[in-house]
């Protein structure tokens, strides 16, 4: 394991978002820091928070214990809570070069965003009158409301990005022509031409493509599809089309998919939602013919079984003999696959694959035509938003390097931390995922309102606190004396004696902080909060207290995992939260007195409730030792106390007995 290994969620994200960074910021309620971390890399936090395919969650190591963290839902929370917050400044200087972006989907707008921030004048050309590509035209409002997309698009446009709509590549624009006015061109025209099944009757009226259907809906059309609708396909678009049909009033909506749910490209949660709303899904079923007289009336289907693996690595569906049957259909919606529009690219001089996608030289999107870059679905074929954003980010960097004549970006390795060992897994407390609140099914089907409501603050903090903070754990510095104290006290058994110093495998460390609080050489630091950061946080609270000069100066530490919010209000205590108070070292308990605190209180939870293991026991040990010091120096051990939520009223009484901190008293007299 190298030091460079990163949390698996981050390694799995196509844009390597610092997931652990923003989730841990949410865990301590610092939503602004969270959105800053997200925004730094992702121009579409609200969008991704809703419809990302979440490779991060698949990689999350929490699933070794119970369920992965709801990472996307937390991103959405951070984005929703900070709407309108201006986080990113425009560049101070602009370059002379101009860049044309064709297509305003997530790939194109990401390029526009990143290049605008680098100081380029970008013009985005869009065929439609609405920006956003598939975000606004292909994904229904109940999953991704238009105003959410608009807000993120508007921000990008506010970076002095010019927009020209109603212009189409191949018809109104040519690459050659654009290269006369622009020094680089980025092609992100998507992959929106529907593939049609080889079935008789595909030309019948009532057989439509899902993309065209969803585009119509996005423009506000509400067609009457009849009672019975059959959707062919198993991707996100098929499921979106099916759920849309229910909202248009069709009562019998059936998806037919030739493989099983395990091979289905649509997300499991979406499929569950669709079924809850009333969509029927027939797995291992393929269409044979569309039957009807002018209008489609039935779909003749055949049952399938899974055979050998095909080139995509999935088991090939094979028809089962004599298993044909018919389903009634007033409308058939085709959602089996998409390729780029051939007309747009045919005379472009670009090398295309047999599917019509643009062949690029490497993952930065460099094409065979100088100055022309491409990315998003037009290169990859239909893929996810986050992949499109990733392609846009790589291309923006490549365009900048091309225009500035800079060397190619070095290939970075993104190694994930290895899995948790079984003996560590069994010591980690289980904690259930916070359910995403949704609109009840019975209130969904007569409208296109967003189904998922999003977490409230309490839910978000709780969910974020489930994060194992992978990779934020203990680092051992060279001044380790190899006393092996950490080896002997770690509740998870992670540190081991190394050749010269103790070794702590950061992939296994649970970040409880006990080793750091006990290391006699102060040689262990947690990435989550270094010793210096911990001291600085304390200093800040004390500075604030001294400035406000309360009659009684009480510093209180509390465990953020337990959120004793009733305590935090109006108690007159200057609070400092810690992700488990077991990590408080003795210095943090006595130092406030040196700065004039009259009392230090620590809110402690029951040991069996500790988020980690033994945090409360270690806190007690530290308090006991700190009390001894306070006694010896004449400050009095009574000034340091453990409290529960019921004890708040005792502070004042205790103060009457103890009186003011003798150090502060002297300062006052002198002052």
């Amino acid at each position: 394991m190298t030091d460079k290994a990163i949390p698996p969620c981050q390694a799995a994200c196509p844009i390597y978002t610092d997931v652990s960074g923003y989730v841990s910021a949410i865990a301590i309620g610092d939503i602004e820091r969270a959105i800053r971390i997200i925004r730094q890399i992702n121009p579409f936090p609200s969008v991704c928070g809703r419809i990302c395919t979440r490779p991060c969650e698949t990689a999350c190591r929490r699933s070794q214990i119970d369920e992965p963290i709801s990472i996307a839902a937390l991103k959405r929370f951070a984005a929703d809570q900070t709407r309108g917050l201006k986080l990113i400044k425009r560049p101070e200087h602009y370059y002379d070069e101009r860049v044309a972006v064709i297509g305003s989907g997530p790939a194109g707008l990401t390029v526009a965003h990143d290049l605008a921030l680098l100081g380029y004048r970008v013009t985005v050309f869009e065929e439609q009158n609405v920006l956003g590509g598939m975000l606004t035209q292909g994904i229904p409002d109940y999953r991704l409301p238009k105003d959410v997309v608009k807000e993120e698009v508007d921000f990008i446009l506010s970076l002095e990005v010019e927009v020209k709509t109603g212009l189409s590549l191949g018809r109104d624009l040519s690459i050659e022509g654009l290269l006369k006015d622009y020094q680089a061109v980025f092609l992100a025209v998507g992959s929106q031409r529907s593939l049609l099944p080889k079935c008789n009757g595909v030309e019948l009226s009532g057989v439509i493509t899902a993309i065209e259907f969803l585009k119509q809906i996005s423009r506000g059309h509400r067609p009457n599809l009849g009672e019975h609708v059959v959707i062919i396909g198993g991707g996100h678009t098929a499921v979106d089309a099916a759920r849309t049909c229910l909202r248009l009033g069709s009562s019998e909506v059936t998806i037919i998919y030739r493989r099983t749910i395990d091979e289905m490209p649509a997300g499991r949660a979406e499929v569950d939602d669709a079924e809850k709303e009333g969509v029927n899904i027939r797995y291992l079923t393929a269409p044979v013919d569309f039957l009807g007289n002018g209008n489609v009336q039935k779909v003749r289907c055949i049952e399938m079984r899974l055979g050998e693996l095909d080139e995509s690595g999935r088991r090939r569906p094979v028809p089962v003999e004599n298993s044909e049957f018919e389903i009634k259909a007033d409308t058939v919606i085709l959602a089996i696959g998409y390729i780029p529009e051939a007309d747009a690219l045919k005379d472009s001089g670009l090398i295309l694959s047999k599917n019509g996608t643009i062949i690029v030289k490497d993952n930065t999107g460099t094409t065979n035509v100088k100055g022309v870059f491409a990315g998003g679905d037009v290169v990859s074929g239909p893929s996810s938003v986050i992949e499109a954003i990733a392609a846009g980010k790589r291309a923006a960097d490549a365009i900048h390097r091309y225009l500035r004549n800079l060397p190619d970006k070095e290939v970075e390795e993104h190694l994930p931390l290895r899995s948790l060992d079984d003996n560590v897994v069994k010591l980690i407390n289980k904690s259930n995922r916070q359910n995403m609140p949704t609109v009840p099914v019975e209130k969904r089907l007569d409208n296109f309102n967003e189904v998922e409501v999003g977490y409230n603050r309490n839910e978000a903090l709780k969910e974020a606190q489930r994060c194992l903070l992978c990779g934020s754990g203990a680092l051992v510095a060279d001044n380790c004396a190899a006393c092996l104290n950490c080896v002997r006290i770690c509740p998870y058994g992670v540190p081991v004696p190394g050749r010269e110093i103790a070794e702590i495998d950061i992939s296994q460390c649970q970040v409880c902080g006990i080793c750091a609080s006990e290391c006699p050489a102060s040689a262990i630091n947690l990435k989550l909060e270094t010793r210096e950061e911990g001291r600085a946080a304390l200093q800040k609270v004390i500075d604030k207290a001294r400035q406000e000069a309360p009659e009684v100066l009480i510093i209180g530490y509390y465990c953020r995992y337990k959120l004793p919010t009733s305590l935090l209000d109006d108690s007159g205590i200057y609070w400092l939260g810690k992700l488990c108070t077991g990590r408080l070292d003795i210095f943090q308990l006595i130092y406030p007195f040196e700065l004039g605190a009259d009392e230090v209180v620590v809110h402690m939870c029951k040991n069996e409730e500790c988020h980690f293991r033994d945090g409360s026991r270690w806190l007690l040990t530290h308090i006991e030792r700190a009390k001894k010091i306070l006694d010896e120096i004449g400050m009095g051990a009574d000034r340091l106390n453990i409290i529960s939520e019921e004890d708040v009223s005792d502070f004042k009484k205790r103060f009457e007995v103890l009186g003011i901190n003798p150090i502060r008293k002297r300062e006052k007299v002198r002052g």
Binding site: C483, N485, I489, I629
Partner: protein, 226 residues
């Protein structure tokens, strides 16, 4: 390692009563390992001293440094300039470290913050036990790797005194009779014949002892860069 423990706070405070600017120097080797005189303890003692003196209305400036070893002049020299700014140095090392600094700096008072206890090993978390008396004439090869000089209350080297009961030392029931342990170990190792060998009485070392290794000393003709 050398095992030491911090002196009672009152004693330290008393030692420092005439000084107003003190540099506390921790030691990064033995006393860090036995959790008594490393960087963390330096920080705590410094804060405690500042507070105690503030409470008395007699403020003290306390500097904090930890060096890797106080028993080597080269490490001590790392704090030379800083030390010159203080009235006294409070060493959190063993007695060797205290004297190492005192010897090196000469003109600054060096005070011990620790009581040096013994040469010992860890015996579980938070416990250390004396195992070597540094007698200068090791007989561990014939006592099954258990030192009777350090671990027998009477330092007997030719068998037990006869006062042990139930395997425990008559001087302190907290300790096992080390000769019983030696016997058991020798049985296990099939080396019982060593018990028949008489070890001559050990002469009490004459202090101070000094070790000179002629083979390691720089010869006149060998030069050293400065």
């Amino acid at each position: 390692m050398i095992v030491a423990e911090i002196k009672p706070f009152g004693e330290i405070k008393d030692m420092l009563k005439d000084y107003n600017k003190v540099l506390i120097v921790g030691c990064g080797t033995c006393v860090t390992v036995c959790l008594s005189g490393g960087e963390r303890q330096v920080e705590l003692l410094a804060s405690a001293l500042r507070m105690a003196r503030k409470i008395e209305g007699n403020e003290i400036t306390v500097g904090e440094r930890t060096i890797l070893r106080q028993c080597d002049p080269e490490f001590i020299d790392q704090i030379k300039d800083e030390a010159a700014q203080y009235d006294a140095i409070l060493s959190m090392a063993c007695g060797a470290g205290v004297q190492g600094i005192a010897e090196r700096f000469g003109s600054i008072t060096v005070l011990p913050a620790m009581n040096t206890r013994f040469i010992g090993v860890s015996d579980g978390q938070g416990t250390w036990v004396e195992v070597c008396a540094a007698c200068g004439d090791c007989i561990l090869y014939k006592t099954g790797g258990i030192c009777p000089v350090a671990r027998c209350a009477k330092s007997l080297i030719n068998g037990p005194c006869g006062g042990s009961q139930g395997g425990l030392c008559e001087v302190s029931k907290d300790n096992p009779c080390v000769w019983q342990q030696i016997y058991a170990r020798l049985v296990k190792l099939n080396l019982l014949h060593f018990l028949k060998e008489i070890s001559p009485p050990k002469t009490r070392p004459v202090h101070p002892r000094r070790l000179v290794r002629e083979d390691l000393r720089l010869k006149k003709e060998q030069t050293k860069g400065v």
